[in-house]
């Protein structure tokens, strides 16, 4: 079983660490969730499997996709990885897949709010929802 098909089979469930977010990817439900902080030493290595899995998932016919992002801090490499995720989703959405991104942030967290707006401004096909939660990090 290759890494990618194993991701599609069983999904991803990574607990949060000091430097990396909790990741839950449930291909059956079409749900991806990231929460916590993200500044891994090698963002490409951390996000690589997620990106590979998501790409393989989006290439197949499947359910609508819901992505929940509830980060309180991410570094620029992680921002790049998020950008890559959103671009992939945008492409899938442009091809007719129903994609919703819920961008969670604390009401007083202008930094995360601005990042969300920033991302949203580049995305047209995705349903990008700004969610000012009371407690985004859980």
């Amino acid at each position: 079983m290759t890494a990618v098909s194993s991701v599609l089979f069983s999904g991803i469930d990574l607990p949060a660490t000091d430097r990396s977010p909790a990741v839950r990817f449930d291909p059956a439900a079409g749900a991806l969730a990231l929460s916590g902080e993200s500044y891994p030493e090698d963002a490409a290595a951390f996000f690589g499997p997620i990106l590979h899995g998501l790409r393989a998932f989006l290439q197949m016919e499947g359910p609508s996709v819901t992505v929940d992002i509830a980060l309180i801090y991410f570094n620029s490499s992680s921002a790049k990885a998020l950008m890559n995720i959103f671009q992939m989703l945008e492409e899938a959405a442009a091809n007719g897949r129903s994609v919703t991104v819920n961008w969670h942030f604390a009401p007083d967290d202008e930094t995360m709010e601005e990042f969300g707006e920033d991302f949203a401004s580049d995305l047209d096909a995705i349903d990008f929802v700004m969610c000012a939660d009371e407690e985004p990090s859980g």
Partner: protein, 554 residues
């Protein structure tokens, strides 16, 4: 603790294959049963002999007495029978009587004396008188009416029968003693073997195994002294084993500890080497940072904070003054530490190429040129950013690095400040409060991002008392508080405004203290760089330079 091996140790069947162990190993030179037998048998034999001898002696004496008594009765009866007056005159009186004595089995010899001691008659073997195996009795012949001794009869009875019986008895006794001794010997051997030798041999075999640190234990030890010894042996083995275990544990612990110390030392050495290397790298990186004093003639005040997270980092700034213009650039490259530092080198060399011309290009041109050169230099011009490289690598497996940057160019003659930013903004704090010129939400470089396109240039007329702040997101991205979140640009600006009465240097220090407090136990997340400056207004410039405004080229 290894499990106790509880098994029945076989009797000395298995010989111990140890070479120089003949004194203790193998069969004993003199067996315990043999020793016991040799010690006890003579005593037993002697006692038996004494008892049997005594019995034989008593029996012999008894029978001899009985024989003597019989002989006396026979002599008495005969004496009485012949005791008639002047008996000796009639031989027919006593001869048949005395002859009759000879019918007795033991009879050997008899004779009759008269009162004067003259032998009147004798019968049998006279030599028997002096033989040793005989009993001799004599009786006076007394005339009953006158109670007068009239003669004497002497009778000799042989004791051969008696002696033969006695000898037979003695022989039987001796045989019995021998049989008993043999039986005793066999019994002792068997009992000794079962009760003593075998358990001892088991214990011995166990001891030899224990000598070789095989922790065997004796099972079903009895309740006798040997059993107690066996139980004591088991306890001793337990003690030895736990002692040995503890020793081995200690040794293993010591080994592990020394391994750890070695590893720690190796680690320390490696860390020291890496740190030394990075400190060296920092000297080099500091070398590409500008000398802030180059702008001193143009600035009333200036302060620079360059604080990489790990000695070196991805933050970079540059200042240069040329032809009546002062340039301030702050860049935040992807990554921190060594990769970030590499990126600053790329950016520094790119910037050198861009600025290597008589006059500064416009700020937006500087940014777009940086974008172009960085992409080219890092070979990010992939055939198609979405699909990846020719060799099948996904976009995220290739260099996908870039930077955020902000550039200010201050015109000394006009007091105009031009700003362009990609991912960075310029904050202005003046008497009227805080304002900022926001850069485009784009980054420079990055394979997977489109070029920034056109970047607007903000033109700001510098007013008296206005100070300018250009910083990387490492300054505002301090994570702290509860619930945790980043400090944020707005709070950085507010803090700076609150500290506006201080010098730029103190203001930045105050801000850093605030950030440290906010962060608490949390670690810093990123490199941080802030360049703060307050330009001299044109009048000052002119008065100091002593030239008229007209002389300055626009």
């Amino acid at each position: 603790m290894q499990p106790v091996e509880r098994r029945n140790v076989a009797a000395p069947a298995a010989p111990v294959p140890s070479g120089g162990d003949t004194a203790n190993g193998g069969r004993p030179a003199r067996s315990l049963a043999g020793k016991l037998f040799r010690r006890t048998l003579p005593v037993v034999v002697l006692v038996l002999l004494l008892i049997q001898g005594g019995i034989a002696w008593i029996t012999w004496t008894d029978q001899r007495n009985a024989l003597t008594h019989r002989a006396q009765i026979m002599a008495e009866l005969t004496a009485r029978a012949i005791a008639t007056p002047i008996w000796y005159l009639d031989r027919t009186v006593f001869e048949p009587q005395v002859q009759a004595l000879a019918t007795d089995d033991g009879f050997r010899y008899a004779r009759v004396f008269d009162e004067l001691g003259k032998v009147l008659f004798q019968t049998g073997d006279a030599a028997a008188l002096n033989a040793t195996d005989t009993i001799v009795v004599s009786r006076d012949i007394v005339e009953p009416k006158a109670d007068l001794k009239v003669g004497r009869i002497e009778l000799v009875i042989g004791t051969e029968e008696l002696n033969r019986t006695a000898a037979l008895l003695a022989m039987t006794a001796l045989l019995a003693v021998l049989v008993l001794a043999a039986a005793l010997s066999i019994t002792v051997q068997i009992v000794m073997r079962r009760l003593v030798v075998k358990p001892l041999a088991r214990m011995l075999a166990a001891m030899r195994q224990v000598e070789r640190k095989s922790w065997v234990q004796l099972d079903d030890v009895g309740d006798d002294e040997l059993g107690q010894a066996g139980a004591a042996f088991n306890r001793m083995v337990d003690g030895l084993r736990s002692g040995d275990d503890a020793k081995r544990l200690l040794a293993a612990l010591q080994r592990a500890q020394s391994d750890l110390v070695d590893k720690n030392q190796a680690l320390e050495a490696a860390n020291h080497q890496v740190m030394e290397s990075i400190r060296y790298a920092r000297r080099i990186q500091e070398g590409i940072l500008p000398d802030a004093t180059v702008l001193a003639p143009v600035m009333t005040e200036m302060a620079v904070l360059w604080e990489p997270l790990d000695l070196v980092g991805g933050d970079y700034c540059w200042m240069e003054r040329r032809d009546g213009q002062a340039l301030v650039l702050v860049a935040d490259c992807t990554g921190h530490g060594v990769p970030g530092a590499f990126m600053t080198m790329v950016v520094a060399s790119a910037l050198r190429r861009i600025l290597d011309r008589p006059i500064f290009p416009q700020p937006d041109v500087i940014l777009t040129e940086l974008d172009r050169i960085v992409r080219h230099r890092l070979r990010q011009e992939a055939p198609d950013p979405a699909t990846g490289a020719d060799d099948g690598r996904a976009p995220w497996d290739m260099s996908d690095d870039g930077l955020d940057a902000g550039v200010c160019i201050y015109d000394e003659a006009t007091g105009l400040l031009y700003f362009a930013g990609a991912g960075l903004s310029l904050t202005v704090i003046g008497p009227d409060g805080v304002m900022s010129h926001t850069g485009v939400r784009r980054s420079l470089g990055y394979r997977t991002l489109p070029p920034p396109g056109s970047v607007p240039v903000h033109c700001h007329q510098v007013l008296p008392g206005e100070r300018f702040y250009l910083w990387t997101d490492g300054v505002s991205d301090h994570v702290g508080g509860r619930p945790k979140r980043v400090f944020g640009r707005r709070r950085v600006a507010a803090t700076l405004a609150r500290l506006a009465h201080l010098s730029l240097e103190d203001q930045i220090q105050g801000l850093c203290a605030d950030l440290d407090r906010y962060r608490g136990a949390e670690a810093r997340r990123d490199d941080m760089t802030m360049v703060a400056f307050q330009p001299r207004l044109p009048d000052d410039v002119h008065s100091r330079a002593g030239t008229s405004p007209d002389a300055v080229t626009a």
